[in-house]
């Protein structure tokens, strides 16, 4: 695109505000409409988010990087169904149920912790962040002396599918790592949901959520710190969810020396 170096669009004379927020401010205007560059930037971001929603979960790729794992599938056969039937994404298909039953038969004493990974609404998030988070959570379990089941990888899964996995495995705690709904600026945000005494039929009131795990969001270290606090407290108090507040003392893990200017308007 050659406009002889000069676009007929006008920039906004408040460009300096752009470093105060990730919001799309000071975009300028063509007439009073969005200039071409800003318009195409938006479309690209939307395309990335859409692609993240429809990206196929690479179970084999993730399994190769884990220790022992089990490949499972929800009752939603495909993405089209998954998006319209959240109830199907919350439970396993029959083959997966049978697979877990078989596994559990050989482990009658159950397990302290089940770890589940599901694509959710962004397989991209899982591909990028699940493995480093799993390593940290497994190290945490080792430190606490908790036994851990093979990692359960669930395709077309929603958060509550973890309850069924855990129930079938006889797990006393479960953590699910799941791709969150992609934002325009965050196609790869991972969410962690933790439940003590998981069983089918629980709702969000029984879970604790740690959201926005990604490079530009909550770091792996911080997410692990918060999760570790919740799990140790849950193990001690035998509960999770709304009655278990995240009161983790936040150590200064990443230096933020930056001084924010505050409300400069008044």
């Amino acid at each position: 695109m050659d406009d002889n170096g000069k676009s007929p669009a006008r920039p906004d004379p408040w460009q300096q505000l752009r470093n105060l927020t990730p919001a799309r401010i000071a975009l300028g205007r063509a007439g009073t409409s969005l200039p071409t560059a800003a318009q195409l930037d938006f479309q690209y971001a939307h395309a990335q988010a859409r692609d993240a929603v429809h990206l196929r979960f690479d179970l084999a790729g993730l399994a190769a990087g884990c220790g022992q794992s089990l490949a499972l599938h929800s009752a939603a056969p495909d993405r089209h169904t998954y998006l319209q039937r959240p109830d199907l994404g919350r439970r396993l298909n029959e083959a997966s149920v049978a697979q877990l039953r078989d596994y559990a038969k050989a482990q009658p004493e159950g397990v302290d912790l089940a770890l589940v990974v599901a694509d959710g609404l962004s397989a991209l998030a899982v591909h990028r962040h699940a493995q480093p988070m799993l390593q940290r959570i497994e190290a945490l379990a080792k430190d606490e002396g908790w036994s851990v089941a093979p990692i359960c990888l669930v395709e077309q899964g929603r958060v509550a599918v973890a309850d069924q996995v855990a129930e079938l495995l006889g797990a006393r705690m479960v953590v699910i790592l799941i791709g969150e709904r992609p934002g325009l600026s965050s196609p790869d945000s991972l969410g962690l949901y933790f439940t003590y005494a998981p069983r089918v039929g629980l709702n969000d009131a029984s879970r604790n959520c740690i959201s926005n795990v990604r490079l530009e969001g909550l770091s792996y270290a911080m997410a692990t710190h918060k999760l570790g606090y919740l799990m140790r407290e849950a193990w001690r108090r035998q509960l999770s969810g709304v009655n278990l507040k995240d009161e983790a003392q936040i150590p200064v893990l990443e230096g933020t020396d930056e001084v924010r200017p505050g409300n400069f308007l008044v």
Binding site: F42, P261, N263, V266
Partner: protein, 463 residues
């Protein structure tokens, strides 16, 4: 009593008014998820024919959700104005559609009719209306409200400036706020969805917005969207609060899942009134709604999502709201699957709300897992602009970086002003002209060439 309709030799039977309404509802994923939708296109069309034959009075004798079980039903029945209903009380649903499209239905007669209509009547007639019917009838109706300015006048459309920030950082909020003001947005309100829901954080945001509005003498109002009980607590602590927010739904059970009831809303309304902060009027409740909210709380009681939504407007109108906002595409594709469903739902909600006397706005929006894009939003924005909507959202570049969804931008509002000649609220329009931000004449929209002097002072602080 069941409903039987025979068409072209095939007889269709519907077991109840509730089932008939659900089967007559234009297709959408939420009703399929609830397993109450028509199972074929022909069944849906036949249900619409059967519904068209139902007398409007039937809705006064057959409650979709029992009176004894649901306080929203009790509100609807107990507050029904029989005298206002008289002009259409002899009509069927189909006859009512014809009446609405005719010349007897004008701004004055529709305003007088509103208290005589129940949400179920509005929902029923909307189900047999096409998009152009929903637009044509809605644009006859004006619902005007006042707080520190006047919203809803004919030929005008306001915007809610939504300067959200992922961590509620004051500088980040101020940056988006200034961007929006300089694009002429913010007359419906300056409203923040807080990332942190603590009372102290909410109080700081309210003080910040109040400070900005006072400093620049902006004829608008502020809102921080928190639970109504938190707003009451903030008011008790002397925090400067303009509009009292709450998400509401159309069944008692769904409202209960939001932690509210009619009496809790009444407390919030009275707390807001006690502050006497409105200069032109006392409309001060701000409600958000959206199709699918009752179902998502498993509290729809077999009623289709569009009818549940219309029932939420009966809750809203009881509290003389300043604005009601249907957040149409936020809920996701399991309720409204694609652009077509979102567009139709937005127009139904606007029509039903206006018909019931509610000051409707729309968060014309979508999420990234819905089959929708900017083109769909442009269509809905244009249609709602023609239909005479009271207000839309305005956010930087359509991208809400806190809530992770896309809605209408500051630029989008100017598009509607230019193409449809829609002006801001008169008091705000005068302020924009005085500040040399925006002038609008004869279909032309002119933005000022630089930063107004008062705001230059603010920007200079950042250097």
């Amino acid at each position: 009593m069941s409903f039987v309709h025979t068409v072209a030799g095939t007889t269709w039977r519907f077991e109840s008014l509730k089932q008939l309404m659900a089967k007559a509802s234009p297709a959408r994923s939420g009703d399929c998820l609830a397993e109450i939708a028509a199972t074929s296109d022909a069944e849906r069309a036949a249900a619409q024919m059967a519904l068209a034959d139902v007398p409007l009075t039937r809705f006064l004798s057959e409650a979709l959700i029992p009176y004894e079980e649901d306080e929203v039903t009790r509100l609807i029945i107990d507050s029904h104005d029989h005298a206002a209903f008289a002009p259409v009380s002899h009509l069927t649903v189909g006859g009512f559609r014809d009446w609405l499209l005719g010349d007897d239905a004008d701004e004055a007669s529709l305003k007088a009719l509103a208290p005589g209509l129940t949400p179920e009547m509005a929902a029923a007639v909307s189900k047999i209306m096409r998009v152009q019917d929903l637009v044509l009838v809605a644009q006859k109706i004006r619902v005007v409200t006042r707080f520190r300015n006047t919203v809803g006048l004919r030929g005008r459309m306001s915007t809610r400036l939504q300067p959200n920030h992922p961590t509620d950082d004051p500088a980040g909020i101020a940056a988006s706020l200034l961007d929006g003001l300089l694009y002429g947005n913010g007359d419906a309100m300056i409203g923040i969805n807080p990332a942190t829901d603590s009372l102290s954080a909410i109080s700081e945001l309210l003080k910040m917005l109040d400070g900005v509005i006072q400093h620049y003498e902006i004829p608008t109002q502020s809102c921080v969207l928190t639970h109504v009980t938190s707003s009451v607590a903030a008011i008790e602590r002397g925090v400067p609060l303009d509009l009292v927010f709450q998400s509401i739904a159309g069944t008692q059970a769904a409202n209960s899942s939001f932690g509210i009831s009619l009496s809790i809303l009444q407390e919030g309304y009275e707390a807001g009134l006690s502050l006497k902060r409105g200069t032109l009027g006392n409309n001060l409740m701000y409600f958000e709604t959206g199709q699918g909210s009752a179902l998502s709380a498993n509290a729809h009681q077999g009623v289709d999502q569009q009818t549940c939504e219309a029932r939420a407007y009966a809750v809203a109108r009881h509290f003389n709201p300043f604005l009601v906002n249907t957040v149409v595409g936020f809920i996701g594709p399991e309720y409204l699957y694609n652009g077509k469903q979102i567009i139709r739902a937005g127009l139904e909600d606007h029509f039903c709300g206006k018909l019931l006397g509610v000051p409707m706005g729309c968060d014309i929006c979508y999420t990234n897992h819905a089959e929708a894009d900017q083109d769909d939003m442009d269509m809905l924005l244009t249609l709602l602009g023609v239909a005479g909507i009271n207000f839309i959202m305005g956010i930087p570049g359509s991208d809400d970086v806190m809530l992770n969804y896309q809605t209408t931008s500051f630029h989008d509002a100017l598009y509607a002003r230019k193409t449809l000649g829609l002006r801001p609220a008169p008091e705000f329009e005068a302020w924009l002209a005085r500040m040399d931000i925006l002038q609008q004449h004869d279909g032309q929209v002119r933005l000022g060439s630089g930063v107004p002097p008062l705001f230059r002072t603010a920007l200079a602080q950042l250097k």
